[in-house]
Amino acid sequence: MRIDPDLCIACGQCVPYCPVKAIRLEAGADFAEIDFDECAECSNCLRMAECPTDAIYQQELVWPRTVRSLLSDPLTVAKESGITGRGTEEMKTNDVTGRFKRGFAGIAIELGRPVLGARFYDVEKVAQAVASLGVEFEPRNPTTSLMEDPRIGKFKEDILNEKVVSAILEFAVKLEQLPQLLEIIKRVADEIKTVFSLDIATRVNPDGSVPIEPVVKAAGLWLSPNGKTNIGLGRPLVKEH
């Protein structure tokens, strides 16, 4: 995103709308500026700031900068998933897709969320760490499509410095792999320059209990009291063996 300095009247209306604080308006300046390297191309300023002089404009997006918009602008439709946003249908349609089967846990590591944003060198660091466990990254996830070699979590070289509001690494592991995975995640969390939000999805047991709970608790980790529940109303229900 850009601000036309000839049109900008330095009203500052756009400044609070940037999620990564890339819009700057110095005291006494005649116009606001967007730090082009920090801007994640989410379009929030363009959509929301109601610029009185229409000084904010979308410059032409070319590779690899297109990656920023793909993962940061919630209204961009990803061709891999066919839905808006940086994720997939994941557990939301698990009742009809069976993506996460009994005995497995779906994992999502969302780099940059909340607030800080992420560059792909950090996304890659985490991807390579978990890839050592032999995980298969979800092919319909747009972040996976940016990998050069998903088997080892290697991303395309020219996107490593691209900044996004967030990028999701999505995969499933067998429940027995979970303790080892959590150890890997703990270790790599100390090696990155940003934050990530971690979540875990699982098919509920026939008695209503949640199979991952004892495993996570045994690892001494926290589970949130709130979250998402798929209530099984999709049809046709997936056949489970």
Binding site: P16, Y17, C18, P19, C42, N44, R47, M48, P74, L75, S81, I83, T84, G85, G87, E90, M91, K92, T93, N94, D95, V96, T97, F100, G106, E110, R113, P114, V115, L116, V165, A189, D190, I192, V195, F196, S197, L198, D199, I200, A201, T202, R203, V204, V210, W222, L223, S224, P225, N226, G227, K228, T229, N230, I231, G232, L233, G234, R235, P236
Partner: protein, 210 residues
């Protein structure tokens, strides 16, 4: 995974915050889903939803009103309804169950409360998705009370800067709590932000500061 997950807060302040999502699955049941999604949104409004939204086309401000949100729903939409109480939530879930749309439904909120609502209307959990919190350089994050508002938009569009600006406006009596909360809702294009809860959080914050 995912935009309605990772909402931060205490059990107490999360107890008036629920989102119901309905979506078709690509190539399984998406054909002809638009009218069903529209009926669901209308059903949610009739049963007490405080906001509705469409993750594909935007919330009521992007589309020019609640009527437009309803009118524009397409076959592959991901639609949402926000609730502030479990009575409205349970009524909606019962209506959705009876309508038998055949589309996937996900309820976000306190697991215990959601489970109680489901049991009341004869529904069972199929799959759950649980946040394990924030990792890495968490020392660089803003304070908890700011994050409790920010994380109600999973895409991060309700920014820290905007939240701080609204807090200042409320504190200086340039807007009411409700007006401030509604302003915070606007950038959340999916329409999943809960302005009722935001007003409560703003009230707590501004009272504490005074």
């Amino acid at each position: 995974m995912t935009h309605t997950l990772h909402r931060m807060g205490s059990v107490e302040n999360l107890s008036e915050d629920y989102v119901v999502l309905m979506m078709p699955s690509k190539d399984i049941n998406h054909a002809g889903s638009g009218p069903k999604l529209r009926r669901f949104l209308q059903m949610a409004l009739d049963n007490g939803a405080i906001k509705i939204g469409d993750g594909r086309l935007g919330n009521q401000y992007h589309q020019g009103g609640v009527d437009k949100v309803l009118e524009n729903v397409e076959d592959r939409a991901v639609v949402h309804a926000v609730f502030r109480d479990t009575e409205s939530l349970a009524r909606t879930l019962l209506a959705v169950k009876e309508a038998d749309f055949g589309l996937s439904v996900v309820v976000s909120g306190l697991f215990g409360e959601v489970e109680k609502c489901c049991k009341r209307v004869g529904l069972e959990k199929h799959t759950v998705n649980i946040s394990m919190g924030r990792w890495g350089r968490t020392e660089n994050l803003p304070p908890q009370e700011i994050l409790e508002i920010n994380t109600m938009c999973g895409h991060g569009m309700v920014t820290v800067g905007l939240i701080e600006e609204v807090i200042a406006e409320v504190r200086n009596k340039r807007c009411t709590l409700e007006e401030g909360a509604e302003r915070l809702f606007r950038p959340c294009v999916c329409g999943i932000f809960n302005p009722h809860r935001a007003a409560q959080l703003l009230e707590e914050m501004t009272a504490k500061e005074q």
